[in-house]
């Protein structure tokens, strides 16, 4: 039977009278967005921690938003993404003095989804590389300590803290990933495999999954056309947007020139007995004249026609 637990990671742009805006523009646009995802058959919805207050305001409460999702064929909100991409004096995972503040933020996010059955608390374990370098084992250990602490707390609320590694984060090479995972408690801190981010950083996401299968709780299925061979990852202040050589890093599954071997990964996933969610993501699909609506349809076509063959 074809895999059906597909969730969608909340990135979207829609045309409004004020130009292209996220669907949080107003309730009508948000409803339309959910309906579009529903029409394609997504069952899970992952979103950002900073959208929770907006959803609560717009739908009356976060559970009310989840009920709206359910009325549209979704099972539930499946994951919440929490991040500190940019280090400040208040929050920086590699700076121990900021851990209490980060922990308190995570507690607040967890409270915001109280009563629901969100599965993944997805985190960016570090900030941008250039703010951390040199990346030492000591700094990685400090970050690991933080996420062990957060992971213990989120588990008490039924969520797994699971780590998602950007190509421009401080923990990016295979060696750094292994070091980080060795310093974290496998019962408390898990692995979230973003296929494009690892590929850009020169790490094979399929191999990562093989090696960390027991700790893997989720995926971002997205593609890229470029491996970072110009140290773009250390471009201040924003490598993703300002790398001189690259105007667009991320693409939906199934584009010409895509580097991720999704069928191979799908085979591994099916063979492993993994039974969690698979998440579709394509950040900044609007670059170069793209549209989120179309990119998402094309990704879902790929799932239904290419990956379904593999996952039967």
């Amino acid at each position: 039977m074809a895999w059906s637990k597909w969730s969608y990671m909340d990135h979207w742009v829609t045309e409004t009278p004020q130009g292209p805006q996220p669907p949080s523009f107003n309730r009508a646009h948000m409803d339309r967005y959910v309906k579009q995802l529903s029409a394609l058959g997504f069952r899970g919805f992952d979103t950002f921690f900073f959208y929770l207050p907006m959803l609560a305001g717009m739908y009356g409460s976060v559970p009310a938003f989840e009920r709206f999702l359910q009325d549209n064929g979704f099972d539930k909100i499946t994951g919440i993404f929490s991040a500190y991409p940019y280090a400040t004096r208040y929050t920086a995972p590699h700076v121990r003095e900021t851990h209490d503040r980060i922990f308190a933020d995570c507690e607040a996010t967890v409270r915001a989804v109280d009563g629901l059955s969100v599965e993944n608390f997805i985190v960016m374990p570090s900030t941008t590389y250039f703010q951390v370098e040199p990346v030492t084992e000591e700094k990685i250990k400090v970050m690991a300590d933080l996420w062990n602490r957060v992971g213990r707390m989120t588990l008490e609320h039924g969520m797994k803290t699971t780590c998602h590694f950007e190509f421009w984060g401080a923990i990016r090479t295979r060696e750094q990933l292994d070091l980080f995972f060795s310093h974290t408690d496998p019962e408390l801190v898990f692995f979230f495999c973003d296929t494009a981010q690892h590929t850009i950083a020169g790490v094979d996401p399929v191999q990562m999954f093989r090696d960390y299968r027991d700790r893997c709780t989720g995926f971002h299925f997205k593609d890229t056309h470029t491996v970072d061979e110009h140290e773009a990852y250390r471009t201040p202040p924003d490598p993703e947007l300002m790398a001189p050589e690259v105007t667009r890093w991320f693409y939906e599954m199934g584009t010409d020139g895509g580097l991720v071997d999704f069928p191979a990964l799908m085979r591994e996933i099916v063979a492993s007995g993994y039974d969690g969610w698979l998440t579709v993501e394509h950040d900044k699909a609007e670059l170069g004249g793209g549209s989120y609506a179309e990119a998402t349809c094309v990704a879902k076509w790929y799932i239904d026609n290419v990956l379904a063959e593999v996952s039967r």
Binding site: V13, T16, P17, Q18, G19, P20, Q21, P22, S24, F25, N26, R27, A28, G57, M58, P85, Y86, T88, R89, Y90, T91, R101, T128, P236, P237, D238, L241, M242, T247, K284
Partner: protein, 323 residues
């Protein structure tokens, strides 16, 4: 533009969503667009984080090295300088740990004055004449201000005004249609609670009109306090209480509820525009208004298109020579 009035253009309409206006090449295109339209000074909107590299002083400087480096960048797009910077201290920012502050809360005043410093220093460093600020938070979030409340807010802005004046920068309070200072009486009360030598008023023609204040008549009565102008149009006025809808930024200004009007601000010369732009500009001229007139059309749609239509209006309806 070649005129006795000084014309600038607001860059806020290009930064319409999070991370769309970050690459220097895209920003240079916007600057060239404005230059081709006849504008050679820009107003910067404040922002936060690494994506606001035309908006948050620390990030601007990280991108361009120093103030001179930033001005060189502007000049590559044939823009000669910065007229002003707009800042809302009530908007939580990453650089301050997302702290929520209110100008109506005396206990927040020290922190707000401290958080004004990067903007004041930046204005001085790039030769911007005015720091334009949102004086109070949205009306739907608090009770209407009384005399005491207006005095409290006034005291804060006197302090910031003093900071700014010390480095040759003016401070202008920008009235907006959602602000807790809403009626003309409240606005005048706020102005009276401030020192005219330190604090001026930024008169935004569309915001005034939506809020129910005639910008032409107000300017005639209070010209001496108006030190900055935002020139834009609207097709709608608040029916009276819409600004009080909870979440008015979305429910009113993005049509989430009520009359479901999804766009409020328009370019000059728009069909059905409510602002008497010609009368307003004539009034500015009649009083020899000395400040900047910043044309803008934020929250409106295609930024280049709106800038070009605004430019045409200046040239053909207001007879402002382009060069």
């Amino acid at each position: 533009m070649k005129d006795t009035l000084r014309w600038a253009y607001a860059l806020n309409q290009w930064n319409f969503r999070l991370d769309v206006f970050v690459r220097h090449s895209d920003q240079l295109r916007a600057l060239k667009t404005l230059s081709a339209c006849g504008f050679d000074h820009v107003e910067l909107p404040a922002g936060t984080g690494r994506w606001d590299n035309l908006a948050r002083p620390e990030v601007i400087l990280l991108n361009h090295g120093d103030h001179a480096g930033f001005l060189d960048f502007l000049r590559r797009g044939s823009v000669r300088g910065v007229s002003s910077v707009y800042w809302d201290p009530g908007q939580p920012v990453e650089e301050e740990g997302w702290a929520f502050r209110s100008t109506a809360n005396r206990h927040d005043h020290d922190a707000i004055v401290e958080s004004a410093k990067p903007f004041v220093e930046f204005c001085a460093g790039v030769g911007a004449e005015q720091l334009v600020v949102r004086p109070v938070g949205s009306a739907w979030m608090s009770p209407p201000p009384d005399a005491h409340g207006l005095r409290t807010v006034g005291e804060l802005w006197n302090r910031v005004g003093e900071l700014a004046a010390a480095v040759g920068v003016g401070l202008a309070l920008h009235y907006d249609c959602l602000g807790a200072v809403h009626t003309e009486a409240e606005l005048v009360g706020l102005l009276e609670a401030t020192d005219p030598a330190l604090v001026g008023l930024a008169l935004d023609t569309a915001e005034f009109t939506i809020g129910g204040i005639d910008p032409v008549a107000f300017y005639q009565r209070h010209a001496g306090r108006v030190t900055h102008v935002h020139l834009k149009d609207t097709r709608y006025a608040d029916t009276g209480q819409e600004y009080r809808m909870p979440g008015a930024e979305t429910t009113m200004l993005r049509g989430g509820a009520g009359r479901r009007i999804e766009r409020w601000f328009f370019e000059l010369g728009t069909e059905g525009g409510l602002v008497d732009v010609k009368a307003f500009v004539a009034a500015l001229r009649s009083r020899a208004y000395p400040g900047w007139v910043v044309v803008e059309s934020d929250h409106g749609g295609n930024p280049a298109e709106l800038a070009m239509l605004n430019s045409w209006y200046l040239q053909y309806e207001l007879s402002v020579a382009k060069s």
